[in-house]
Symmetry: C2
Subunit: 320 residues, 2 copies
């Protein structure tokens, strides 16, 4: 199903989120306005705010509050992307130059801070203390996830576990917050909040697994970055980890990771692109998809529930 069809039940709310984002970029300072437009009008899929809006529609809700929370979620996501790109010195994101590559790391740091501030402002405007606390906790998890000391990881047995923890903090926690905060703002019962947290986590994990598969299978022109970009930066994601689990003695891939000798990058990528490895990755993503769908069973049947099922299926099948 197309995203536009999935988003049908929340079309009005998403349009309001876009208005909020446009208003956020509409500031007096021409330079700041230019930076904000660059990162907020970027053709993003708006999956996280959509999740907030859908999660908030199971019980009685005030659309204005939900839209504020959804806007906060998208701004928080954007802020973390701007800082991530700065930290990683990334040149492009979704095929467009990053803020740090165009205007330098210093401006990118300040822009990210500004986006955090605006996100906090929208979260506070819900006047819902619990939702605000979720928001603060999410930023704690995301920033600390990247700050744990890098452990020397050729402990193969713990590699997959570390990877799940890492993408849990990096990606899934914002999906959790998006779903949970929508449920909280609309005063859902505790059981529903908990179910939507589970859904958000499993959607986020499936989403990131597919991202990490696409890093090996996607087309450069669609992804806006070269194939194997993660591996080329020494980042070990699920396909590489499963390859190493199956072929612990493969010297080419191990050597590449150990020495980061770029002339072997292409060969290493080709080995990891083995169909059985990628199939296994996809099956693990499907497991997260199934758990996401299962967690929705506790929620009343509704157009939102159908949309959330379609959203996780979309995430599993996407090509970029």
């Amino acid at each position: 199903m197309e995203l536009s069809s999935i988003y049908e039940p929340i079309r009005e709310g998403l349009a309001e989120v876009e208005k909020n984002l446009a208003a956020t970029a509409n500031v007096d300072s021409p330079f700041l306005a230019r930076l904000l437009k660059h990162v907020l009008q970027n053709g993003g899929k708006r999956i996280r705010p959509a999740l907030t809006l859908l999660a908030g529609k199971f019980y009685e809700f005030d659309l204005k509050l939900l839209v504020s929370m959804a806007t906060a979620v998208e701004l928080l996501h954007t802020a973390t992307l701007v800082h991530d790109d700065t930290v990683d010195k990334s040149i492009t994101r979704r095929g467009k130059p990053t803020v740090n590559s165009l205007w330098g790391g210093a401006k990118a740091v300040l822009l990210g801070d500004y986006l955090f501030a605006k996100a906090a402002t929208f979260a506070a405007s819900t006047e819902n203390i619990r939702a605000i606390k979720v928001f603060a906790q999410t930023l704690t998890t995301i920033s600390s996830g990247e700050l744990h000391e890098t452990v020397a990881t050729f402990d193969l047995k713990r590699m997959r576990e570390h990877y799940y923890q890492w993408i849990g903090a990096k990606t899934a926690c914002l999906f959790v917050a998006a779903a949970e905060s929508g449920a909280i703002v609309s005063q859902s019962p505790e059981e529903a909040i908990s179910a939507l947290r589970d859904y958000g986590y499993n959607l986020g994990m499936a989403f990131q697994l597919i991202d990490d598969i696409l890093d090996f299978t996607g087309k450069e022109v669609e992804m806006g970055k070269p194939v194997g970009a993660d591996l080329s930066q020494g980042t070990l994601t699920l396909p590489t980890i499963l390859f190493l689990e199956h072929y612990p003695d493969d010297s080419l891939v191990r050597d590449f990771i150990g020495k980061m000798d770029m002339k072997n990058l292409k060969l290493a990528i080709e080995r990891i692109q083995e169909p059985s490895i990628l199939k296994e990755c996809f099956n693990l993503a499907s497991d997260f998809r199934n758990r996401a769908v299962k967690s929705l069973e506790k929620l009343p049947e509704s157009s939102s529930r159908q949309a959330l099922i379609a959203l996780v299926d979309y995430s599993l099948q996407r090509r970029m």
Copy 2:
């Protein structure tokens, strides 16, 4: 008066703030703990949390909530320092190496984000929506203040105005937030909140003016940075601006600023160190001090009011 005497009415509260900061640094990850201890146990004067505690003591107050807000204020301040040092590529702060100089800019960006998150968590734990909104607005002001397009500034007439706006956003706004949030958390009447906002602004402005004077008059060993450090980075602060107002045709200082030719730095500093210029700067700082004291007239006579008067006098007379 010594700070320890000024802080006498809030000794218990400040000790609780220190406990909160120590607890914040006490995390499982040894690397993150090390970074946090580096920036939180740094012998800072804790003026901002002291201001929150003093501002909150004029009417009925819950010490626990005030302490949470004061902790949030100090963490927000620390976060902005960590990012400022990263943006400016500063090597030392208060004579100690900066996080970015010891561990690199990437870690410093993430550490600042983590501190913002912890600050937001403490602010949210007051469960006071208005105080949380003040908190979000303050971060907006601080980050956007640095992001306005740098204007080519040899428009002498507007230089002082721009400087006041800049230090208002950079420094005074956090003093405003510290005082205002203390008053809000303790449910002070609107007139008192407004008076404490004014006090915070004027204290913050006096504080920054003295900082900028000390940049020219302080001893390197006490300041932990070389004399004229601002000027050497091309930052025009009040002493330089007053010098240019009085001697608009002085070619040495103008040329230094225009060309940043470091071999003339010492000579430029010596010119700006003219006693009449520094005296005039000090008088302007005194004007802010007087306005700060005047704003306190609307508040009931109390040990807090005496301490706030002593605090602004301390700020005016400090040597580092």
